[in-house]
């Protein structure tokens, strides 16, 4: 009887574990294995074991290193930006003012739009020839902008689009976190004479630390694995300015037919991502535990 009860939680976990195994761990292992094989460039299409050759090839490839640099730069900006903006948005829509439900709906609406549709819509709006944004700039007698066509503007524009898409979604988590903070605690702080900023810093931020950790880690994973916007909007250009690592790996595998190189790139990337996430957990670990 005791044994059966002890086993029950594990039985409930089995379906989820099986799905994770099939959809996560097996592909990771398959990818790792693929990274040690050649491209199958023979008349029979047979694969050859090449050891670490695919990794050596990558390390010797300036395009790969440029892609790593672009990905790190993109993430160094977009992750803190998304976390900060979504926290601000959550604080804004957490106010108890008349009509707040309407504004909440309005501000959270982009969640309902798929990332692909949003990217295409922004691509049209920011089109340098016929986009509405340049139309407005022209109307205001301001110079039109190349946006995605310019190597200097493409990355900031992509960050803007990705942030617009991501912020409402991550704000939902902060909103849930904020609504979980007992009102009495904030009231007590106010009675004790704490300013709004002091209450935010001394009460809200510590009590939101678990939510912040989750949002930071989740945005990091989402943005490190970002694929659709560069694929749909910039094709990695101009001059590799938006050649994020996932897009680069996809191109190696499915445009150049170099599945081994692509798998090696993804394997390395997974290792880097795990280190970054571990560091984030370490830095944002709640101090009061």
């Amino acid at each position: 009887m005791f044994r059966r009860e002890a086993a029950t939680p594990y039985l409930f976990l089995i379906p989820a574990m099986l799905l994770i195994l099939v959809w996560r761990y097996i592909p990771i292992i398959a990818g790792l294995r693929e990274s040690f094989y050649s491209n199958g460039l023979s008349l029979t299409g047979a694969k050859q074991f090449v050891g670490l050759d695919n990794y050596r090839y990558l390390f010797d490839d300036p395009t790969y290193w440029e892609s790593v640099r672009v990905t790190l730069k993109f993430n160094a900006i977009v992750n803190p930006l998304q976390v900060g903006c979504s926290l601000l948005l959550a604080l804004l829509i957490n106010q108890a003012v008349p009509g707040i439900r309407f504004f909440r709906t309005l501000l959270l609406l982009p969640i309902a739009i798929s990332i692909n549709v949003a990217a295409i819509a922004w691509g049209l709006a920011l089109d340098s020839n016929y986009g509405v944004v340049n139309g407005i700039l022209k109307m205001l007698s301001l110079p039109t902008q190349p946006f995605f066509r310019d190597a200097d503007q493409a990355m900031p524009t992509l960050i803007g689009v990705v942030t617009w898409i991501g912020v409402p979604y991550w704000a939902l988590f902060f909103l849930a976190g904020l609504q979980g903070i007992p009102k009495e605690v904030l009231e007590a702080a106010r009675i004790d004479g704490a300013s709004r900023f002091q209450a935010f810093r001394q009460i809200i931020v510590p009590l939101l630390s678990r939510t912040t950790t989750f949002v930071l880690v989740a945005t990091t994973v989402a943005n490190f694995t970002m694929f659709a916007p560069p694929y749909l909007l910039t094709n990695g250009g101009p001059s590799g300015a938006t050649n994020l690592i996932m897009f680069d790996a996809w191109k190696r595998g499915f445009t150049y037919g170099d599945l081994g190189g692509s798998a090696a790139s993804i394997t390395l990337f997974l290792a880097v991502l795990m280190i970054v996430v571990a560091l984030e957990f370490l830095i944002t670990r709640p101090r009061h535990d």
């Binding site: 050649s38 460039l41 029979t44 190349p146 094709n235 001059s239 445009t255 150049y256």
Partner: protein, 423 residues
């Protein structure tokens, strides 16, 4: 794919047969019932219905089903599905320059027995050349292409310019001058239909006497960064940036042309039918493909080929479809529908000699047929995907103002790196 047996399908088929028989009273029992049909799948972005329907009608035991995807998806789906050894495709659409690449990977079933020499001789020689790899026929050319220079007569005459006649070949220098005269406000002077793909741009360096790839099909350093390439693509860069006569960014040159926002363009012969059918509110003409002053006549050719997936479970049916799709009847169906330019010599001769092709716009067809004589295929290299993709990025950078020498040198280095794996 195995023949499918569905009870519901059988009942439906029986019902349909009975209804048709009752209605026409001329019904004859078909030799093959629906459940015995072999279904084969063709992944393509081409308007294949007209030929597929004709084939299906003549071959009651085979049903070709089109899996329609976009142009870019054809390449990606082929890579993913053929690369994984999938049998989900029977008939493969192969862009001519990829035959070598697919052949090297073992993604195409050899077709020599199904298409002996006398059958192959029906196609234009350059197309047969690009169908073969390692001495084996791996694909068949269903279409062909050539390029023409199209212009809006009214936009040109408003700028005081008379466009070239049907036998007159303008130089790129003349095109530049006319484009500068025509460009104003939101009207652009000139653009290529495929403005960032090597297919339509390779005549620029080739017209200056350069190769597009080394004889080994792999070397590009010293070729795509040579003087001819740099000077040709410096002109291309200036079109977009200095003279601003060619539109930048994501554009649809065909839409711009029919909306009178583009005065001149280079397009394939398929545009003749579509422009004529569009009943445009302006007068347009076509002329031979431009050349550099004192340069060589070079016109892009090649088009789509069909191949058979070696992992297909229905190779025999797929080959039968290829035999039909590569034949004169299918070529005529596609040509008459205005979808393509034929790969069969007999049809090209017919176009030139057809008395109906003396009046405009049909008079443009013999110009296109004559241009086929100057056709050059795209580079035959196992790394065509890499070659094309890296050059497309370089061309985009040039459209955005990059320096021709820098962009082409970078592209040459990147392509050389990617080609290493084929050496």
């Amino acid at each position: 794919m195995n023949p499918r047996v569905h009870r519901r399908g059988l009942i439906k088929a029986a019902g349909a047969i009975a209804t048709t028989a009752a209605a026409s009273r001329v019904y004859q029992m078909p030799a093959v019932l629906a459940q015995d049909r072999t279904t084969i799948t063709w992944l393509t972005d081409l308007p294949g219905d007209i030929v597929v329907n004709a084939f299906n009608e003549q071959n009651p035991d085979v049903e070709v089903k089109i899996e329609a995807v976009s142009f870019n998806e054809v390449f990606q789906q082929n890579q993913v599905r053929l690369g994984s050894g999938s049998d989900s495709l029977d008939v493969i659409s192969v862009d001519a320059p990829l035959v070598t690449s697919y052949g090297l990977r073992g993604w195409l079933e050899p077709l020599d027995d199904a298409f002996p020499a006398d059958v192959r001789s029906q196609w234009v020689d350059a197309l047969v050349e690009s169908s073969s790899y390692n001495g084996q026929l791996l694909s068949i050319p269903i279409w062909n292409s050539t390029q023409l220079f199209y212009y809006n007569e009214e936009l040109l005459s408003a700028a005081g310019i008379t466009g070239p006649g049907p036998d007159e070949r303008w130089t790129w220098e003349q095109v530049t001058e006319a484009a500068q005269a025509v460009t104003k406000d939101d009207v652009f002077g000139f653009q290529f239909e495929q403005f960032n793909r090597i297919y339509q741009l390779q005549p620029l360096p080739q017209g200056k006497g350069s190769q597009v790839i080394g004889d080994d099909g792999l070397t590009v350093e010293g070729i795509i960064d040579n003087e001819a390439w740099v000077s040709a693509f410096d002109w291309y860069q200036k079109l977009h940036n200095e003279w601003k006569v060619a539109p930048q960014g994501t554009i649809e040159p065909n839409e711009l042309f029919i909306n009178q926002k583009l005065a001149m363009c280079v397009r394939g012969p398929w545009a003749i039918t579509s422009l004529a059918a569009a009943d445009l509110p302006f007068s347009w003409k076509a002329a031979p493909h431009p050349i550099w002053e004192g340069g060589e006549i070079v016109v892009p050719t090649d088009s789509w080929h069909l191949g058979v997936n070696p992992n297909s479970k229905n190779k025999e049916a797929a080959i039968r479809f290829l035999q039909y799709a590569g034949g004169e009847e299918a070529g005529r169906l596609w040509y008459e529908a205005g979808d393509s330019w034929p790969s069969q010599k007999s049809l090209l001769d017919e176009i030139v000699n057809n008395p109906a092709n003396t009046e405009w716009p049909n008079a443009a067809f013999p110009i296109a047929a004559a241009e086929s004589a100057h056709g050059v295929p795209r580079p035959l290299t196992p790394g065509y995907n890499e070659y094309q993709d890296i050059l497309t990025s370089a061309f985009e950078n040039l459209r955005n103002g990059g320096d021709a020498q820098t962009e082409l040198t970078n592209a040459a280095q990147r392509i050389e790196r990617e080609m290493r794996k084929y050496r």
